[in-house]
Amino acid sequence: MNLTDPALLNTYSLYALYSAMAVYALAFIAFAVDLARRSSAVDAIEAADLVEADAAPAAGAAPAGAASAGSTRTLERPALKQPVLSRISARMDNDAALPYGRSSSLRVGVALTVLAWAVHLAATIMRGFAADRVPWANMYEFAMTGTLLIMTVFLIVLIRSDLRFLGTFVTGLVLVLLGIAALQFYVEVAPLPPALQSAWLVIHVFVASLATGMFALGFALSTVQLLQFRRENHVIEGTAAPRGAVASALRLHFLATLPSSATLENLAYRITIIGFILWTFTLMAGSIWAEQAWGRYWGWDTKEVWTFIIWVIYAGYIHARATRGWRGSRSAWLAIIGFSAVMFNFGIVNVFFKGLHAYSGL
């Protein structure tokens, strides 16, 4: 095997990418199974609650110690039957209404994700060596590196916060993006055109991808936050399960095992502000590069317009969090709109809009 042959390296890179996608798909299934199990565990508990409530109306007054023990699998234990209301706790860590430990499918999901990530990394590095430059100079490569960074951000965040429940979303998103990249955007290795021969390609695009990774997680957390908020409202209103609501229709009962909406909101905020700082840097680095390459630092090129729009939306998000009446669900919607704009900028603007950023190589 001759690893100095670019064509061969590129072929191996493709094999690796498809393998990574296959493993991501398995991880996605494992994560989905975990969510399904959470839902049925919640259903079981709620059914038991009803029976118990009939039998002994006074039961459940003593809050169970198991709820705060947290990390073990507590759902199966009958000790957890507290009154529904007291399950909404304001504490930051592990404040799920029904704490649920790490099921075997969750562990399998994480392990598969790490494996797929390693193969994905190998695919990206091989593409870089095949092209003899950074592997993010056209849409195909940008998607490959961008999704790798989304996954890297996710795995790093997992070390600090238990966001494993986002596994379905993250692997799903990465799978869809990689699928589009491999099927629609694939291009052969080509040398860099003069306009892209710049150190700023390395910095600007890399940081933009990193910011995208942060925004993706922030988006996922904000979405779950909104769903969780609905569930909590139903709980407060006294309807234990949101019958007839979206969560019920989609059988999102697993929400009871996830952190409270307040916790999700704080997590989303923390991750999104890192993304915002990186995006601000992306915007500035882009201007410096534009000055070098095109002789003006800002010209309202379509790509520049959308980078600006995204920046302003997230500035709005940060402001919303500090504005009375906008904390909570409304600011969450801004994070969702912000990430939609990021995806639009990558997927639609690059492909369908006319502009100077014609590097897509399509």
Binding site: P194, I277, W306
Partner: protein, 539 residues
């Protein structure tokens, strides 16, 4: 009620509304929405040809859009109104906050709350025996001060406490961020006014003097004084290109463009320089950018009596990736009729099945020049400025090519052809006949480069403000601002009970951990000081 008071009252109400957080948020969202149309409709500043085309494609819609400034979104009245209101709001918001922040910087941390147990990270410890409350708090003060807290101490009978606050940099950073944004806006708004931008096409071997008349086009800023142009000269010595030849997937893709130039400052020695696509040449207060390039075939037109009536290297504008190029030759004088020619240049000529020429490779492998000849009134004498890159053929009679039935003139480097109607001859001059004779055409046709020359005295300001924006953002978002309290209470038995708690001011994920760490450090310090304090007391 007096009307005057009413007006001030109303103004004050309006000002309070404008500088409220809710308005700031509303204006930010409006700004995001207002920026969208500019990406859907071509803009005059970034895509003037697109606008022209839009008027052709949508003759009914375009004038309506034009009336609402949809082709000039980012300088439109409505877009400007939004961002100006936003920035007025910002200034009105930042000034009182700055005043308030200065006061906070001088103020003492607030008194310790009576009940710490309700606050974040609340934790308790028992002080080592023999440590009294006052000493414990002295040490707590030391620990907090060494961690960068500002502290205030409160003592009363049987109870001492220290109140500490840190992270003023958070608000400082936030204010700096907003102020620097104003700086960026002002620099961008006025900066353009003091500079200029100009374009100039140079063929290899040509020289340009940095004066107003030498530019092909010149856009001075509002406050720019033409007489301050520094008349240095710029010569294009050589323009080198290289195209991919190894990788068949990307065959013919450009890999490098390099313009070797000589810059001669007025009254100074000449110095060599290089301009590349991503590498502008910064010299004599201007930045020189390489924006385009192409071929400039040298064409000579000779009258029947042998006098040369036209001889020039004419820049041909590239039309596709393989540099099929289009150029115009106008010969108003010296022939029996005015002569216009539309030329196509193919650096590597090939023929389609239909017989039409095309270029199959961008470099000079097999160059060919074709010319369609027109005669008649070129319209140059009407005093209306005409583009050197366009030929208005309405008033002209076509002599070769197209529907005339006469073949277009086709020339290889070094060859000549008779013009129709006995007008004379046209030649395509070869720059390097010796090499061409040996089959190497690579030097046969000169190249041109188009340069953008800019002067912008505010770039340094802009980059400085941007750095401040980024710094302010980092500190404003990531530095935690928090208050921490330590309280020491003497129990009935003389032992000392220690309480610790914190309060986040803004998002602060690490607060609880910080309070615990503080308590641990404090207790460690108390324990190490134990031998000193622990002199046995006679009881």
């Amino acid at each position: 009620m007096q009307p005057k008071l009413g007006v001030t009252g109303w103004l004050r109400w309006f000002w309070r509304q404008l500088t409220s957080m809710r308005t700031a948020l509303f204006l930010l969202l409006m700004l995001a929405i207002a920026a969208i149309p500019g990406s859907l409709v071509p803009q005059r500043t970034s895509d003037p040809n697109g606008v022209t085309q839009y008027f052709v494609d949508h003759p009914d819609l375009a004038p309506v859009l034009d009336r609402v400034q949809a082709f000039d979104v980012y300088s439109s009245a409505w877009f400007s109104a939004i961002y100006l209101l936003l920035f007025i709001s910002l200034i009105g918001c930042v000034i009182p906050r700055t005043k308030h922040h200065f006061q906070a910087l001088r103020a003492k941390p607030p008194t310790t709350p009576a009940r710490l147990a309700r606050l974040s990270g609340f934790t308790t410890r028992d002080a080592p025996a023999q440590t009294d409350a006052a000493t414990a708090i002295t040490h707590a003060r030391t620990v907090l001060k060494s961690s960068g807290y500002r502290v205030a101490r409160f003592d009363s009978a049987g109870e001492s406490s220290v109140s500490a606050e840190r992270g003023y940099l958070r608000e400082t950073g936030n204010l700096l961020f907003h102020a620097a944004l104003v700086g960026v806006l002002i620099t961008v708004g006025f900066g353009g006014g003091y500079g200029f931008g100009g374009q100039r096409v140079l063929v290899e071997g040509q020289t340009f003097v940095n004066t107003l008349l030498a530019y092909d086009s010149f856009n001075p800023g509002r406050f720019f004084d033409d007489t301050t142009l520094d008349p240095y000269t710029l010569s294009l010595d050589d323009f080198a290109v290289s195209y991919e030849q190894q990788n068949l997937q990307a065959y013919g893709q450009p890999i490098d463009f390099t313009a070797d130039v000589t810059v001669t400052p007025k009254g100074d020695a000449a110095e060599p320089g290089v301009v590349k696509v991503n590498g502008p040449l910064r010299t004599n207060g201007t930045n020189i950018y390489l924006l385009g390039n192409g071929y400039a075939p040298t064409i000579t037109v000779t009258a029947p009596d042998g006098t040369v009536v036209f001889s020039d290297s004419v820049p041909f504008l590239p039309q596709d990736a393989n540099l099929t190029s289009l150029g115009i030759v106008k010969v108003p004088d010296g022939l029996s009729e005015q002569l216009g020619m539309i030329g196509f240049f193919y650096p590597t000529q090939d023929k389609m099945a239909s017989g039409a020429n095309f270029s199959s490779y961008p470099d000079l492998e097999y160059p060919l020049l074709t010319l369609n000849v027109y005669t008649g009134d070129l319209g140059l004498d009407d005093g209306v400025p005409t583009s050197v890159y366009a030929l208005t053929t309405d008033t002209l009679k076509q002599q070769t090519g197209g529907a005339t039935g006469v073949d277009s003139i086709e020339l290889k480097p070094g060859s000549s052809a008779e013009l129709p109607n006995g007008l004379g001859t046209v030649s395509f001059v070869d720059n390097d006949p010796a090499a061409s004779a040996a089959g190497d055409f690579s030097q046969s046709v000169p190249r041109f480069a188009s340069f953008d020359i800019h002067h912008d005295p505010t770039q340094v300001w802009l980059i400085s403000f941007s750095a401040l924006v980024l710094f302010g953002l980092f500190t404003g978002l990531l530095v935690p601002r928090r208050r921490v309290w330590v309280k020491a209470t003497t129990r009935g038995d003389g032992s000392v009970h220690l309480e610790y708690a914190g309060l986040a001011r803004g998002d602060d994920p690490a607060l609880e951990a910080a309070v615990t760490a503080m308590a641990d450090r404090h207790l460690k310090l108390l324990n190490t000081h134990q031998p000193v304090v622990a002199t046995p007391e006679p009881t």
